[in-house]
C-alpha cells in the first residue's frame, strides 16, 4: 500500500481546529483512495497533551534560537528543534525508516529544516516532498507579531526567515497544494516548474443533531439569530470585536440574537470592548464555548445567518466552507471568503469589510426572510464538502500518477 508521511506542527489525533481538520480530510481522502496516511508532529505541550497526542508526535522543547522571547513563533521553533535536537531528529529519522513513505507531505513550511536534513543525511534522499500550504505564511506572521507587540524589526526578521523557508521548500517540492487561487498564483511565481493544486478548505458532511442537541436553540425562542463559530485564534476574536462590537450590537433588539460558538467565546467575553457594554452585549449574545458537533449543527440549522467577521490571518477558512454548506445567509469579509471567492457574489452571500458595511449587511439580512436556495444554488454550495474539493482539484490523481510513474 503506497504511503504518505505528513509532518505538521500540531497533532491531529483529535481534529478540532481548521488546520487539524484539513490534515484529517487529506488522511480520509487518501485512505479512501487506497493510501496509508500517517501524520507526525512537533507540538506545543502547552496546547496539546494526553489523548490529543499520538505515538509519533513529539513535544517541542525549546532550543537555542534567535526567536527566543517572541510570541507566536512556536511553529518556526518547531522546525529548528526537529532539525537540530539529536533526540528529535532521531525520532523522525526512525519514523521515516519504519514507514518508508512514498511521499512526505509538509503541512505548512516549518518542518522543512527537518526534511532537508533527512534528505541530506540519506534517510529519505529521494522521497518526493509535497508542500501543503494553508496560507502564504510570512506576511501573516509579520502582522500577527506586530499586533502582539513584538518589535517591528524582529517581526520583519521572522517574516524574512519564513519567506526564505517557503521559497526554498516551494522549489524543492514535487508539488504544492494551495488553499486558494490567489495563494496558488504566489507559489507558481515562486516555483514556476512545480505543479500547484488548489484544494480549497472544505467541510465534512454534517452530523444529524439529536433532540437533545436541538435544545441548544431554545434560548432564541424561535427568533432570528446569527451564528459565529470560531477558535481562540486571535483574528477570530479581533474581527468580531472590530466589525461588530466596537460600534455596539444595538442593531439587534435587546434579546438573544447571536450565538457565539467555540474557543472564540472566551476571547470575546473577556475583552474590554465586550465588557464595556457587558449588559447590552450579554442581553444579545449567547456563548457556547464547549459545543458538541451535534449542538453546533442544531444551532446552525436554527440560525438565520452565519457571520464570518475575519479581517486578517490566514487560517484554514474552514468556517467559511461550513457557513456556505449550511445553506443559510452568509455575511463575511473578503478575507473570510479567501479560497471561496467564487461564492462572493452568490445568492445569500454578502461580503463586507468595514464595521459600517458589516452592520449594514447584517441589518439587511435580518430584515430578509429565511434564505431559500434553488436546487442549482444548493448544489453549488455543496461543492465545499471535502469529497467534492479533492475531486475537483485532481490531487489524488496526482499521487496515483506519481506512483504508477515510479
Amino acid at each position: 500500500m503506497p504511503r504518505v508521511l505528513s509532518l505538521s506542527t500540531y497533532p491531529v489525533v483529535r481534529p478540532i481546529h481548521g488546520g487539524q481538520r484539513r490534515i484529517h480530510a487529506f488522511s480520509q481522502r487518501l485512505a479512501a483512495g487506497g493510501w496509508e496516511f500517517v501524520n507526525a508532529s512537533v507540538y506545543d505541550p502547552d496546547h496539546y497533551s494526553g489523548a490529543a497526542v499520538g505515538p509519533d508526535d513529539l513535544p517541542l522543547r525549546y532550543v537555542g534560537t534567535a526567536w527566543r522571547g517572541l510570541p507566536l513563533v512556536g511553529d518556526l521553533q518547531a522546525g529548528e528543534f526537529a532539525a537540530t535536537s539529536p533526540e528529535a531528529y532521531a525520532h523522525f529519522a526512525r519514523l521515516v525508516e519504519r514507514l518508508a513513505p512514498d511521499f512526505i507531505q509538509l503541512e505548512q513550511p516549518f518542518l522543512w529544516p527537518l526534511v532537508k536534513r533527512l534528505r541530506a543525511e540519506g534517510v529519505a534522499p529521494e522521497t518526493p516532498v509535497i508542500y501543503s500550504s494553508q496560507n502564504w505564511e510570512a506576511p501573516l506572521k509579520y502582522k500577527m507579531l506586530v499586533k502582539a507587540g513584538a518589535p517591528e524589526a524582529k517581526a520583519r526578521e521572522v517574516a524574512e526567515a519564513i519567506t526564505a523557508l517557503e521559497r526554498e521548500l516551494s522549489c524543492a517540492s514535487a508539488a504544492i497544494v494551495a488553499v486558494s487561487e490567489s495563494d496558488a498564483e504566489h507559489y507558481r511565481a515562486a516555483a514556476p516548474d512545480v505543479p500547484v493544486f488548489v484544494v480549497p478548505n472544505g467541510v465534512s458532511r454534517p452530523v444529524t443533531p439529536t433532540a437533545e442537541d436541538e435544545r441548544a436553540c431554545d434560548i432564541y425562542e424561535g427568533r432570528k439569530y446569527l451564528l459565529f463559530v470560531g477558535s481562540a485564534y486571535p483574528p477570530n476574536i479581533e474581527g468580531f470585536l472590530h466589525l461588530l462590537l466596537k460600534n455596539g450590537l444595538f442593531f439587534f433588539p435587546p434579546e438573544k440574537s447571536v450565538a457565539i460558538c467555540g474557543g472564540v467565546s472566551h476571547g470575546i467575553f473577556g475583552n474590554g470592548v465586550y465588557q464595556a457594554q457587558i449588559h447590552a452585549n450579554s442581553r444579545r449574545c449567547q456563548f457556547f464555548a464547549d459545543v458538541s458537533d451535534g449542538e453546533l449543527e442544531a444551532l446552525k440549522r436554527g440560525s438565520h445567518a452565519v457571520i464570518l467577521p475575519i479581517q486578517f490571518g490566514g487560517g484554514s477558512n474552514l468556517k467559511t466552507a461550513e457557513a456556505l454548506a449550511s445553506g443559510r445567509w452568509v455575511v463575511a469579509t473578503s478575507i473570510a471568503m479567501r479560497g471561496f471567492e467564487r461564492f462572493a457574489n452568490a445568492p445569500g452571500v454578502l461580503v463586507a469589510d468595514t464595521p459600517d458595511a458589516f452592520r449594514d449587511a447584517i441589518v439587511k439580512v435580518l430584515a430578509s426572510p429565511p434564505l431559500k436556495l434553488t436546487a442549482a444554488q444548493a448544489k453549488a454550495r455543496e461543492s465545499v464538502y471535502w469529497d467534492r474539493c479533492f475531486d475537483a482539484a485532481g490531487y489524488i490523481e496526482f499521487f496515483d500518477r506519481q506512483v504508477v510513474g515510479a
Partner: protein
C-alpha cells in the same frame, strides 16, 4: 379606549439644585401637564423594577424643588461626616500649589501647576454650588403604589434617563404589560460624535441610546434636526423607527414658577461689565461648545487693535466642564484675555436675563447642538447673533442669524469686529429679529409638546 398617561418625574424627584437643561425641560413640561386632570405622575424605581405612581399632593413640591425624593437612603437625615485630619491637611496643602505638587510627587504622582490650578478651580466651584434647599423624603412617602401598566397606559419620560432608568427592564415590562413608552430625545451626540461626550459617560450614553429606540413607541425630539438624526440612526441600525415629532423648547428665561419657593434676589450686572459693551456666549465650557474659536478670534481682534480693550468684553457664562483645562489656563495667563474676557458661572435666572438684555451681541460657535437653547434665548431678547450652522442651530436661528463655520477663527474675528463697530448693521439685524422673531414661551412649547404627542 383613551390612554392613561403618566409623566415620569424620576429626574426632578431626585434633583435638589438649580433646574437647568434637561431638568428644566422636565419641570416646565410637567408643570403644564399637572394642569390636566387626566395626567398622572410617576417615578421609576430601579430597585423594584417598576413604575410607581406619585401621590398628587407631592407633585407640586417636587416640581418646585421643595422636596427631594430619596430612593435608597434611610428617611432620617444623616449627620454630615466629620472632616478628617487628612481632609483638612489636603485642603491646607492645596492652597499652596507648589507644596501640593511636591507632596504629590513624593506619593509618586505628577501634576503640573496648571493641572493643580484646575483641581483648585473645580473644587472651588463644587463648594460654591448652591446648597439644596429642599427636604429629603423617602420614596415610600410620595408614592401611592405601582402604576397599573396595561395596553392603555403611556409613560412619558424626558429626564436624565441614562442615570435613573433601566431600559432593558422596561423593554421586558413592555413585553409583559403591553404599555407604550414615549421619550423626549434631546440629541444623538453620543452615537454620532462620542468625542464630544465626557469620556466616563460615553459608554453609559451609548448604552442608553442603543436601547432607547427598541423601547420607545413614540419620540418627541427637541428639533427637526434631532428627529432627522434619530431617523437616520434607526435606518442605519435597522431599528423600526418609533413614531416621532418635534417640538421647540421655551426660551422665557425668567418663567413664572408658581409656588416654586425659589426667591430670586434682584439682579445686577456684574461690576466688571458695568458700562461695557459685550458679546455673550452662554454654555458650559467644554470642547463641543467651541469656546476656543471665540477666545482666539477675540484676542486676535484685540491684538490687531480692532476692538477697544477699555470698553469691549467677551462674556462666557457657564461652568467649566471637561477637557478645557488648557484653554482655561491660556485665558488665565493671556494678559489680553485676563483684561477683556469675563467668565461667569452659578448665576441666577434673573442675572442671566439681565446679561441677555444688556448684551451687544450673541454668540454661538458650537460644533453640534440638539437644539441650542441659548441661541433661542438671545433671539428672544432681540439680539443680533453670530452662530455656527451645526445641528439644529439653523432651525432655531432661521434667517435672523449670521452664520460662520465653527472652525473659521478669522471669520469669527471679522464678524465680531464688524458687529461691534458697525452699529447700523447691528441695529438692522436687531430690528429684523424684533420684528419677525417669535420667541417660544414654555406655555407654547408645552402646548405643542402635548398636542403633538397625543397624535403619535
Amino acid at each position: 379606549m383613551s390612554l392613561t398617561s403618566y409623566f415620569d418625574l424620576s429626574t426632578s424627584a431626585r434633583w435638589s439644585g438649580h433646574a437647568v437643561g434637561i431638568v428644566r425641560v422636565e419641570r416646565e413640561l410637567a408643570r403644564r401637564a399637572a394642569l390636566s386632570a387626566d395626567m398622572g405622575f410617576c417615578v421609576y424605581d430601579r430597585a423594584e423594577r417598576c413604575f410607581k405612581q406619585i401621590d398628587p399632593k407631592a407633585v407640586a413640591p417636587i416640581l418646585a424643588g421643595e422636596i427631594t425624593v430619596s430612593f435608597d437612603l434611610p428617611a432620617e437625615e444623616l449627620p454630615a461626616p466629620p472632616e478628617s485630619w487628612r481632609f483638612r491637611a489636603r485642603e491646607a496643602v492645596l492652597r499652596h500649589p507648589r507644596l501640593y505638587q511636591a507632596v504629590q510627587r513624593v506619593r509618586g504622582r505628577r501634576f503640573s501647576l496648571s493641572e493643580i490650578a484646575e483641581v483648585r478651580r473645580y473644587e472651588a466651584e463644587a463648594r460654591s454650588a448652591p446648597k439644596p434647599k429642599s427636604t429629603i423624603v423617602p420614596l415610600a412617602e410620595v408614592v401611592i403604589g405601582k402604576v397599573a401598566l396595561d395596553a392603555d397606559t403611556r409613560i412619558i419620560s424626558g429626564g436624565l434617563d441614562w442615570e435613573y432608568k433601566d431600559l432593558r427592564t422596561i423593554y421586558e415590562l413592555k413585553k409583559v404589560h403591553g404599555f407604550s413608552y414615549a421619550a423626549i430625545v434631546y440629541d444623538l451626540i453620543p452615537q454620532m460624535m462620542p468625542q464630544f461626550v465626557v469620556p466616563s459617560y460615553v459608554n453609559l450614553l451609548k448604552d442608553y441610546f442603543g436601547e432607547l429606540f427598541w423601547v420607545a413607541d413614540a419620540c418627541m425630539c427637541i428639533s427637526e434636526s434631532t428627529r432627522r438624526d434619530m431617523m437616520r440612526y434607526c435606518e442605519q441600525f435597522g431599528i423600526p423607527a418609533p413614531r416621532s415629532d418635534a417640538f421647540p423648547l421655551g426660551c422665557d428665561v425668567v418663567s413664572a414658577k408658581p409656588g416654586s419657593g425659589e426667591a430670586e434676589p434682584p439682579a445686577e450686572l456684574p461690576p466688571e461689565l458695568e458700562g461695557k459693551r459685550y458679546a455673550l456666549f452662554v454654555s458650559t465650557i467644554e470642547p463641543r461648545k467651541n469656546h476656543r474659536t471665540l477666545y482666539q478670534a477675540w484676542t486676535r481682534a484685540m491684538d490687531e487693535g480692532r476692538l477697544d480693550p477699555a470698553r469691549d468684553r467677551l462674556v462666557f457664562v457657564g461652568r467649566s466642564g471637561w477637557a478645557v483645562g488648557d484653554l482655561i489656563q491660556e485665558m488665565d495667563a493671556n494678559p489680553v484675555a485676563q483684561e477683556t474676557i469675563v467668565r461667569l458661572s452659578n448665576i441666577s435666572d434673573a442675572e442671566l436675563d439681565l446679561l441677555y438684555k444688556h448684551a451687544a451681541l450673541g454668540l454661538f460657535p458650537s460644533f453640534y447642538e440638539g437644539y441650542g437653547l441659548p441661541l433661542a434665548e438671545m433671539l428672544g431678547h432681540g439680539k443680533a447673533c453670530l452662530s455656527s450652522r451645526s445641528g439644529s442651530l439653523e432651525e432655531v436661528g432661521g434667517d435672523l442669524v449670521e452664520y460662520i463655520d465653527p472652525l473659521d477663527t478669522l471669520g469669527w474675528s471679522d464678524a465680531i469686529v464688524r458687529m461691534f463697530n458697525d452699529k447700523t448693521a447691528r441695529t438692522a439685524l436687531e430690528r429684523r429679529v424684533a420684528k419677525t422673531h417669535k420667541p417660544v414661551t414654555w406655555d407654547a412649547a408645552a402646548d405643542l409638546f402635548f398636542a403633538r404627542l397625543k397624535d403619535l
